[in-house]
């Protein structure tokens, strides 16, 4: 097991390096200059030259690349060109917002998508149940998150006034209270802060979760179909076991492996989904930060964000691969 993890982590290094290099060069191939983006119409030649020198962008590209890699090895992603904050500190602040959004939308997607997929697979011969469920899945796939997001905002935030329009709640306060132990001394304040965060999280998680639930439901449906066509299910039924027992005891357990694969894929899709979700809901987070960083040509910030995205996806896939062995004892690591 240890060898397996070590090998996987080693393999992750070239992947990460590749992703970082692509981002580095892609950002520089993009037309536009960070200093021009920063100065707008006041971009005189002298001011631009000053700015380029101050930001170190006057150096040859190879030097900048080598510097970037060497710094990254030391986990120093540099400072944001625009705002001057250290990128690692910036990402540290943004990551929790994106993390809880991905987790909450995962909960929504799994709670909605998996049961729908299972029911749809089991009731595939009943068009009254299967068709509406498949239409629901199709709807989710067809609705872009920015459209659904604006719709949710107009209905639940503007018209019904049930949810806030923007922001992510005071997540910093929640984290500080957890770290300092105040969460236990002042549980009232802590739960109020958590409530505020959840209040802000509900609509974005619903929007992202719903659009992803469609994918999850389709994947779960085919996973379930595959499982229930296996011989051991037929045997279970032939024994006269109740359908519930067949589904819960035999089919669901065996569906866990494909379900884990789905969750692995889901994290990648959800992370990219946060870009649009956070922008539409004006939530702080890595996705919104990435959009702003790219439009401002804030190279270090964009590079840092994409590196974190890549690392998260690699890590989640590693965890998923390790969990395979937990849910299926037949799988061993070599």
């Amino acid at each position: 097991m240890f060898n397996y993890v070590a090998r996987r982590l080693l393999l992750a290094v070239p992947m990460l390096l590749g992703a970082m290099s692509i981002v580095f060069f892609a950002m520089r191939v993009l037309p536009g200059d960070p200093c021009v983006a920063m100065m707008g119409d006041q971009a005189t030649t002298e001011a631009l030259a000053d700015c380029t020198r101050n930001l170190g962008l006057h150096r040859p590209l190879a030097v900048q690349y080598a510097d970037y890699l060497w710094r990254s090895v030391r986990l120093d992603f540099g400072n944001s060109l625009r705002q001057g904050y250290p990128v690692s500190e910036y990402i540290g602040r943004m990551f929790p917002h994106t993390f809880i959004l991905v987790m909450a939308s995962a909960v929504v997607a799994v709670l909605v998508g998996v049961p729908i997929g299972i029911v749809s697979a089991l009731k595939r011969r009943n068009p009254l149940i299967d068709y509406p469920l498949r239409i629901f899945a199709l709807l989710g796939l067809s609705m872009p998150v920015f459209w659904l997001g604006i719709l949710l905002l107009i209905v639940f935030s503007l018209r019904l006034d049930l949810f806030p329009l923007i922001g992510g709640g005071d997540l910093d306060a929640v984290l500080t209270m957890v770290r300092s132990g105040e969460a236990f001394s002042y549980p009232g304040d802590f739960f109020a802060a958590v409530g505020d965060v959840l209040h802000h999280l509900a609509l974005p998680a619903l929007a992202l979760g719903f659009t992803l639930a469609a994918t999850v439901s389709r994947l779960s449906r085919s996973a379930m179909l595959e499982v229930i066509s296996q011989d051991f299910i037929r045997t279970a039924r032939a024994k006269g076991q109740a359908e519930r027992a067949v589904v819960y005891k035999h089919a669901l357990r065996n569906m866990l492996v494909p379900l884990l694969t789905i969750i692995g894929i889901f994290v990648a899709i959800a992370l990219t989904g946060t870009v649009l979700t956070e922008t539409v809901f004006t939530r702080p987070g890595l996705g919104k930060m990435l959009v702003d960083a790219i439009s401002a040509r804030d190279y270090p910030l964009a590079q840092g964000a994409i590196t974190v995205f890549t690392m998260t996806i690699i890590l989640v896939n590693l965890i998923v691969d390790m969990l395979y062995a937990v849910v299926d004892p037949r799988i061993t690591f070599r």
Partner: protein
């Protein structure tokens, strides 16, 4: 595949208690359970974390939707949102004057300096500072040292500072006593008091705070303005709080929450919902203005804003012939361009090559739109088949491509064909300084005096020339008012100066060297039921801050 026989047997099952239960009943129960749980979750979420409305009512909070500033160091940023928020926290020695209930950018009045004198030869300004002015966060009283430091850091071009060029006229700064500062100039400067306005280079910072915080100052600003910086949640909001010791009295507003909202559509939803009281939009379109009006909000329009204009290079054939320049001007329908770009009240057709709001502005006359007359003039000048301008460079950013394509169509009607090459904004700036375009489209705002404006765009010394490396902005290559500019720089009588610049505009009108298109005001949307300003919405104040000149005079109404 599952045997169909098995599936048909599933319609009734024996439950553990032995009661037969139809599968659809089970499904209904499950659905009801899920619905009930979902309803409970939504109810909990809605009630949890109670909306901040109660807090907003207790405190007087103004919520602003704008983009996030790139820095809070007022000497460092050129972005509109950064300059706008600076005005809430910083002040200068002088400020734009309030005259007859309006704010003018053409005159100044005392702010951190309570008085000043100018030496007889006109090169030494002595400012007496207002006593008892406090910096935020306990950084003590404002002294002459802070004034000296604030200007010198820019003159020495401290990393990131951008406005040192506006202080090049300063030779030395001397602290006479804690409340007196003497600034010696290289020569008399008629607009020096405008340079000292709390705006860009004019803001006074706490020396102690800058020295203590170093690079961190950009997110820990310390000024003397009506609001102090409280905290920054990146990509979310900046919180400013009323400064109890603000020298002109504590503002009525307790807190300003500056939200990072990049999308104008979200800003509008927020204004309608009441989440935001003030919007700083990215672009005010006719649709945006309509929506603001429909929801009962107002647009605060403030001059001088930005002027978009053409300069015609009078030394480059065929435009060295005044008839061709006149033909060019007859070909351009300024009103049509303005109406397409900024319908109705969104901007005004420009009236002079010195925008209104600048000291010395007088209206000018320009050739009216008449393509036939343009063709006739071209024929007279020896171009009966019109002219073609190849490789005309235009920036792909801001208003440039839109205005130029409109103008291109109009010029074509008059026989002037322009073949466009769209380039990056920086390349455009480079190319126009290499004189590659025979006429140049340009925009922007500068220090609000005809001297500053005309010296940049019409002084013979500012003619760009790649051979000498001069990267000036006299794109017309005009030398016709050099004598007047010189006279204006040494003239101390205000009326005589105004007359000099009126004469300069008359000469430019005669020589046909510039064609201003639109004067586009700075615009914010405001919920008038929540926030009031003492100045009229329509050009009630002129401002260079991309914001309100006097945020301390904004009031929360309920």
């Amino acid at each position: 595949m599952i045997d169909p026989a098995i599936t048909t047997l599933r319609s009734f099952r024996i439950t553990e208690r032995g009661t037969p239960m139809p599968s659809h009943t089970r499904l209904r129960r499950s659905l009801m359970l899920v619905t009930a749980l979902a309803a409970l979750a939504i109810a909990a979420l809605v009630t949890l974390g109670g909306p901040p409305a109660a807090e907003a009512q207790r405190k007087k909070i103004v919520n602003i939707a704008a983009k996030e500033p790139d820095t809070l160091d007022p000497h460092s940023s050129t972005l509109g949102q950064s300059q706008a928020i600076s005005r809430f926290m910083f002040r200068g020695l002088t400020r734009f004057a309030i005259k007859d209930g309006k704010v003018t950018t053409a005159e100044v009045e005392p702010d951190l300096a309570e008085s000043w004198t100018l030496s007889p030869e006109g090169t030494i300004w002595t400012f007496k500072l207002r006593k008892g002015v406090q910096f935020h966060k306990g950084f003590g009283e404002l002294t002459a040292e802070d004034v000296k430091f604030s200007f010198e850091r820019q003159i020495k071009k401290a990393p990131g500072t951008r406005y040192g060029v506006n202080l090049d006229v300063i030779k030395s700064i001397e602290v006479v006593d804690p409340y007196t500062v003497q600034i010696a100039l290289t020569a008399y400067d008629p607009i020096f008091l405008l340079r000292m306005v709390g705006y860009q280079q004019g803001y006074i910072l706490s020396k102690k705070a800058v020295e203590k915080q170093g690079d961190q100052f950009k997110w820990n600003p310390v000024g003397t303005g009506p609001f102090y910086f409280e905290r920054h949640a990146p990509r979310e909001k900046i919180v400013l709080k009323a400064f109890d010791k603000f020298y002109a009295g504590r503002p009525q507003i307790d807190e300003v929450h500056w939200f990072d909202v990049p999308e104008d559509a979200t800003k509008l939803i927020g204004l309608e919902k009441g989440t935001f009281d003030l919007l700083y939009p990215e672009a005010v379109t006719a649709d945006f203005a309509d929506q603001v009006k429909k929801m009962g909000a107002v647009i605060d329009r403030r001059g001088p804003g930005q002027q978009e204009r053409f300069y015609i290079n009078m030394t480059k054939p065929p435009f060295d012939d005044i008839r061709v320049r006149k033909a060019f001007m007859h070909a351009i329908d300024r009103k049509a361009i303005k109406e397409t770009m900024y319908p109705g009240d969104l901007a005004k057709v420009a009236t002079s090559c010195v925008p209104p709001g600048y000291f010395g502005h007088v209206p000018m006359q320009f050739p009216e739109h008449n393509p036939e007359l343009a063709k006739k003039l071209l024929a007279e000048a020896g171009y009966p088949n019109g002219i073609t301008i190849k490789n005309y460079f235009i920036s792909k950013s801001f208003f440039y491509p839109k205005v130029l394509t409109l103008a291109q169509e109009q010029l074509k009607q008059a026989g002037i064909n322009v073949e466009l090459q769209v380039v990056e904004h920086a390349t455009y700036h480079e190319n126009i300084r290499k004189n590659l375009n025979p006429f140049v489209l340009y925009g922007g705002t500068r220090i609000t005096d005809a001297d500053a404006w005309l010296s940049l765009f019409f002084d013979g010394k500012e003619i760009p020339d790649p051979a000498t490396g001069n990267k000036g902005t006299n794109f017309a290559h005009y030398k016709g008012i050099d004598d007047l500019l010189h006279a204006g720089r040494v003239e101390r009588d205000v009326k005589k100066r105004a007359a000099i610049y009126a004469e300069a505009q008359k000469r430019m009108e005669r020589d046909l060297v510039c064609l201003p298109i639109s004067d586009v005001p700075g615009q914010w949307a405001r919920n008038p039921k929540r926030v009031s300003t003492p100045f009229a919405a329509d050009y009630g104040e002129f401002s260079l801050h991309y914001s309100y000149n006097y945020p301390e005079l904004l009031k929360v109404l309920n």
